[in-house]
């Protein structure tokens, strides 16, 4: 009489296996059938929980709870999911009969199907509730043991996902490393500065080390960046104690030699001197 739908009389099935007869097996079956009756009508009928409550004479929260159970049992479908408390409370979620729900409702109405409540399976909620009572009254160890037997999901093991904890940061060692790095850089700069200072008098004929040549090109670049059109250029560098002057000299080519290559300045002469020598 119910057609070929794969319905089962279980109170614990998932939506993937609809349990369209379950509402006949619960103690307050009449209220569920009333809810289904409120939804029966035009195929497109969609009501909010409040509208169903109004039609059945119940309260909205109770109607919503029954509707949601009917959704789980496959009798009712829900249109929209609320994404905020405001929308949820406004009852924008609407419910309607599924094809399965409609067929069962019609068949039940036509044949006065009665199912004894005594045949209903013991729902998990019953033994879980009874167990909760025992757990609440138990000591710590017994409560944990009962939980393990009933649910048994362990606590997560964070180290398994995150790997071994990172070593603690040794601030003193880190500071030493920074100072060492800075010290090394400082020593290299002092060495380059000394070499450049020593080579200043004969710059165009000296082959500079990589560090000194890098310092020279750095000073040249900064001087050129500040040069006025057709004018001389000058830069002073306090950290190295050096100054560099670029003097306009049309027709003059000044080669500068370093381990990394040669730079030739067209139309300039270069003068490098200690900053203190200028004063």
């Amino acid at each position: 009489m119910l057609g070929a739908s794969p319905v089962t009389a279980s109170g614990t099935g998932s939506p993937a296996s609809p349990t369209g007869l379950a509402h006949l097996l619960v103690p307050d079956s009449g209220s569920y059938q009333a809810v289904l009756g409120a939804l029966d009508g035009d195929r497109e009928l969609r009501l909010t929980a409040t509208e169903v409550a109004s039609a059945t004479g119940g309260d909205p929260d109770g109607a919503r709870a029954r509707l949601e159970r009917l959704v789980a049992w496959g009798n009712v479908t829900r249109t929209d999911e609320a994404d905020s408390l405001v929308a949820y409370r406004a009852g924008t979620v609407r419910y309607g009969l599924t094809d399965l729900g409609r067929r069962i409702l019609r068949a039940v109405s036509a044949t006065s199907v009665e199912v004894a409540a005594a045949t209903a399976p013991d729902p998990p909620s019953r033994w879980l509730a009874e167990l909760a009572g025992r757990v609440d009254a138990a000591g710590d160890e017994e409560a944990a043991r009962l939980y393990a037997a009933a649910i048994g999901v362990p606590s997560p093991e964070p180290t398994a996902a995150e790997g071994p904890p990172p070593p603690a940061l040794d601030l003193a060692a880190a500071r030493e490393a920074v100072l060492e790095r800075d010290g090394r850089a400082g020593r290299e700069l002092a060495r380059a500065s000394g070499e450049l200072r020593e080579a200043a008098a004969d710059l165009a004929r000296r082959r500079l080390s990589r560090g000194a040549f890098r310092l020279l090109t750095d000073l040249l670049g900064r001087a050129l960046a500040q040069a006025a059109p057709d004018g001389d250029a000058y830069v002073a560098d306090a950290p190295t104690g050096l100054e560099l002057q670029l003097l306009r000299a049309p027709g003059v080519r000044t080669p500068l030699y370093g381990e990394d290559g040669v730079i030739t300045l067209d139309g300039f002469k270069v003068r490098v001197a200690p900053l203190d020598g200028r004063s």
């Binding site: 614990t12 998932s14 939506p15 993937a16 929260d61 919503r64 709870a65 509707l67 949601e68 159970r69 959704v71 789980a72 829900r78 999911e81 609320a82 994404d83 905020s84 408390l85 949820y88 979620v93 998990p124 909620s125 033994w127 879980l128 509730a129 009874e130 167990l131 909760a132 009572g133 025992r134 757990v135 609440d136 009254a137 138990a138 000591g139 710590d140 017994e142 409560a143 944990a144 043991r145 009962l146 939980y147 393990a148 037997a149 009933a150 649910i151 048994g152 999901v153 362990p154 606590s155 997560p156 093991e157 964070p158 398994a160 996902a161 995150e162």
Partner: protein, 169 residues
């Protein structure tokens, strides 16, 4: 992430979890390793996957152990979740848990309403960590402390995967 590490760090995996396909593919091997190395079991079905540990116990977010009342609230929440629908507010869920607690002979007011609400919230926070409930609007921490309501999403199918057949002895 290695699926074994996934299961150890997240012992409940919802159907939509990115780590679940790898667990499904290697279910037999993972179940054997969990049994041999950890004395645990593995259950995989359409709703997701979950680890079973006969010696399991739970810790709160601050690392302290669950109290008996928190375990009781967790059992009650697992009992009511399959029937509340895909959306429910924390206050409604609390009311359902509290009503069932009354049927089970538990006095929710024994330690005061705030302590009861915190115990319920602690149970729901654990279920949130497992992916059984999710926070849509508002949060469970706010509900625990201030009673500020929150809209929750419920994975009823995953909730049905939690109770072990036969229950506790």
């Amino acid at each position: 992430m290695d699926p074994m590490a996934t299961l150890l760090s997240r012992p409940v995996l919802p159907a939509a979890d990115a780590g679940l396909p790898a667990v499904r593919r290697r279910e037999t091997e993972l179940a054997a390793r969990l049994g041999d190395e950890y004395g645990r079991g593995l259950l995989v079905d359409a709703a997701g996957a979950r680890v079973i540990d006969p010696r399991a116990s739970l810790l709160r977010a601050d690392g302290s152990p669950f109290t008996p009342r928190m375990y009781a609230c967790l059992l009650l929440a697992v009992a009511v979740l399959p029937s509340v629908g895909a959306r429910v507010t924390a206050a409604e869920l609390d009311a359902r848990v509290t009503a069932l607690a009354g049927e089970a002979g538990i006095d929710p007011g024994a330690e005061g309403p705030l302590a009861w609400r915190r115990a319920v919230a602690e149970a729901l926070l654990t279920l949130r960590a497992w992916g059984v409930v999710g926070e849509i609007d508002g949060g469970l921490s706010g509900y625990a402390e201030d009673g500020e309501d929150a809209l929750l999403a419920v994975d009823a199918a995953l909730a049905r995967l939690l109770p072990l057949e036969g229950g506790a002895s």
